[in-house]
C-alpha cells in the first residue's frame, strides 16, 4: 500500500511545531536581544547595534573564557575520545571482569553533573580533601596543590573532573559502534598476517567511523557548552580564571543584569559551535564520498 505524500509531513507537524516554539523561537529572540542593552528586568530596552559584540571583543574576561573553552575542546577531543576508544577496545569482550569494569567506569554517568561537581569540590579541597591527604599519605605530598584555588591549575582540574564522565561516555559510544564491526573481517585480516595494531588501524578503526563521528561531534558540543562543573565548583573563579563561555554568559545575564551582553556571548558560542560542527561534518562527508561508500 503506497503512503500518501502528506503522511510524513503529518507525522512531523507536531514535533516540528514544538521545536519551533521552544527551540527556534528562543534562538531567534536571543539573536535579537544580543543587539540590545536589555538588563533582563526592565520593560524597555534600546537597540544598540554591535555594542555588545564590540565590548566582548576587547573584554579581558571574555578572552580568558574563550581560551579556556579551547582547552576544554582539546581535552574532550584529544583526550576523552582516544582514551574512550582504548577502553572500549580493552573491554570489548565477554566475561564477568570486563562487565564489572565497564559498569564501574560508567558509574559517573549515572550521577547528575551537579552531584559530580560537588563531590569533586570536596575531593579537591586543599587542606582536608581526599586527593591531597592521599598524596601526603603515600609520600607524594610535594604534588599536593590547591587545585581549585590556583589560577594556573584550576581549568585543568575542572577539565579532569569533566573527563571523568566524558571518557565513560566515549567508551560506551565506541562499544556500541564495535557491535557493527563484522568479526569475519577482523579474523580474515589476522589470517592474512596482520598484527594487532594493523588490525586495529586498517580494519576496526575505519569501521568505527560512524561512532567516531558521533563521539567527536558530541565532544565538540559538550566542551563548548560546559557549564555545570564550572559554575558549581568555582563559579568561574578564582576571579575569572576558570571562566568558560557558558559560565560567563550566565554571570553577565543573571548576576550583572546585562541580558543583552549575555545574549551576545550566547550568539558567539552558537556561531563557534555551529561552524566547528559544519566543518567537521562536511570534511567527514567528503571523506565518505571520496571512498565511494
Amino acid at each position: 500500500m503506497r503512503t500518501k505524500w502528506w503522511v510524513p509531513y503529518a507525522f512531523l507537524a507536531l514535533p516540528l511545531l514544538a521545536y519551533s516554539v521552544w527551540v527556534i523561537k528562543p534562538i531567534v529572540e536571543t539573536f535579537i536581544i544580543s543587539f540590545t542593552n536589555w538588563d533582563g528586568i526592565s520593560k524597555t530596552f534600546e537597540f544598540t547595534g554591535w555594542e555588545n559584540f564590540k565590548f566582548l571583543f576587547q573584554d579581558h574576561a571574555f578572552h580568558i573564557a574563550l581560551l579556556n573553552n579551547v582547552k576544554w575542546l582539546l581535552g574532550f577531543t584529544a583526550v576523552a575520545v582516544p582514551i574512550g576508544l582504548a577502553l572500549a577496545m580493552l573491554f570489548n569482550r565477554q566475561g564477568v571482569l570486563a562487565n564489572v569494569c565497564k559498569s564501574l567506569i560508567y558509574l559517573p554517568m549515572t550521577l547528575a553533573f551537579v552531584v559530580r561537581a560537588q563531590m569533586w569540590s570536596w575531593i579537591l579541597e586543599p587542606r582536608h580533601g581526599v586527593l591531597n591527604t592521599f598524596l601526603s599519605a603515600i609520600g607524594l605530598g610535594a604534588l599536593a596543590r590547591p587545585w581549585l584555588a590556583d589560577p594556573t591549575l584550576v581549568t585543568y582540574a575542572l577539565i579532569a573532573v569533566a573527563l571523568w564522565g566524558q571518557i565513560a561516555y566515549a567508551m560506551v559510544l565506541f562499544l556500541a559502534g564495535m557491535k557493527h564491526v563484522p568479526l569475519e573481517l577482523v579474523e580474515a585480516a589476522s589470517v592474512d598476517g596482520a598484527t594487532a595494531w594493523q588490525r586495529f588501524w586498517y580494519v576496526i578503526l575505519p569501521m568505527l567511523r560512524p561512532a567516531m563521528v558521533i563521539a567527536i561531534t558530541i565532544s565538540i558540543i559538550d566542551s563548548l557548552r560546559a557549564f555545570d562543573i564550572v559554575y558549581v565548583m568555582t563559579r568561574g573563579g578564582p576571579f575569572g580564571s576558570s571562566n568558560v563561555l557558558a559560565n560567563y554568559m550566565y554571570i553577565q545575564a543573571f548576576h550583572n543584569y546585562r541580558m543583552g551582553r549575555g545574549a551576545a556571548i550566547a550568539v558567539i558560542q552558537f556561531v563557534i559551535t555551529f561552524s566547528m560542527i559544519s566543518f567537521y561534518l562536511r570534511w567527514v562527508m567528503r571523506e565518505e564520498r571520496g571512498r565511494g561508500s
Partner: protein, 409 residues
Amino acid sequence: MFRKGMLVIGAILFLGLLGAAKEQIVVNSYMSDPAPREAFAQLVTMFEEQFPNYDVVVNTFPHEDFKTLLRTWLPAPEGPDVLTWFAGERMQYFAAQGLLEPLDDVFADGGFSALFPEAFRTVCTYGDHFYFVPQSWYWWGVWYRKSIFEELGLTPPITWAQFLDTCERLKDAGYAPITIGTKYLWTAAGWFDYLDLRVNGLDFHMDLMAGKVPYTDPRVRKVFEYWRQLVDKGYFLDNHSAYSWQEGASFLFNKEAAMYLMGQFIMDVAPAEVKDDIGFFRFPIIDGTVGVYEETPLDGFMMPANAKNKEGAKVFLRFIAGQESQQFFAEYLGRLAANRHVPPPDPMAREGLDMILASDGVAQFYDRDTNPEMATEGMERFVEFMMFPDRLDSILEELEATRARIFGQ
C-alpha cells in the same frame, strides 16, 4: 453504595471549600541556612494563628541562587506576594524600574518613624515612597576565638599597629591569623569596605559606591596598601578562593584560624559547643582623625509589583514590622531587630548594638551599595589582589575602566 459515594463527594467538596476559604500568601525566601529558616517557619505559624483566614506558602531557595532567581520573578506577569531582600541600592535598583509595589499603606500615619529608627529611612525608600520593610540587621566585626587569645595572652587589638602585632603573634604560634572564604567573592569586599571606611571615611566611601570617584584615585590606592600589609605577611588563610564563607568559618571553629571579619550571622553556623568561645571586636582604627564607621546590612521584605495577593501581602508585612514578630526573630537568632522597641535579645547583641550606637555612621555593604555589575567586577578584582598583590596597578586600571563604563564619565 450510592450513599457512601455521596458522602465521599460531600467530604471532598467540604474540604475543598475549606481550603478555598483561606487566602494564599506566597513568600519566596532566601533563608536557606537552617537557623533562620526555622525561625522564619515559626514566625509564619505565629502569623497563621493570628490570621487564620490566610494560608502562607513559604518557598525557600538557596541563598546565592535566590539572588539570580529574583530577576526572573520580578518581570514575570505574576509573581510571589512577598520577597526577602536587602535594603539599599539592591532594592532601589528594582524600585527605579517600577518592579516593586509601594508600601506606603503599611506605614500609614507616620508608621515608619513609630516603628523604625530614622537612620533606616533612606535605605528603605526610593523617591517619595517606601518599598521595603526592614526586619533585622546585624553588625560586622572581627570574630575571634577567645581561648586562642587567652592561650597567647592576647587582648582584642584597638589600633592597626596592635592588630598587626596580634596577627604576627598568632602566626608565630602556628595559627592562620585571619580566615576567609572568597569562593563567592563578597567576603573580600568586606575587607575592602572596612579598610576604605577606616582610611577615607563614610562620605568618600559612599561617593566611591555611587561611581563619583575614580578607582585610580590615590585614596583608593591607599586602601589597598594597608590591605597589602596583611597579604604580604601571609596573615590570610591559604587558598581562600577555594572556600565558601562557611567553609572558611570552619577553620575558625576547629581552631586552625583565630579571626574572621564577618557579619553576626556567623553565629548561625557556629557549632553549639564553640559558640561561647567566640567573641568579636571592632575593626581596628587606622586613622584617629577619621570617623568610626561600620557596616550594618539591613535585611527585610519587599513586595513585587506583580504580586497576586497584594492586600494579603500588606497584612503579612504589617505583622513582620510589628514588635512581636521582630522580637521573636531577633531573639531566636541573636540578631538586632529593626523595630526600635525591641531590646537586643542577648548580651552579645547588646554589645553589637552599643558598638553601632557609638559609631559615627553606617554603610550597607559593597554589593548592596553599588551597581550590581560594578560589584561583581570589584569583588573579582579584590580576590585577585589578595592572591596577586603585585598586580595592583592593572587591577586599579580595570576597576576604573569598568566604573567609567557603568557610571558614565
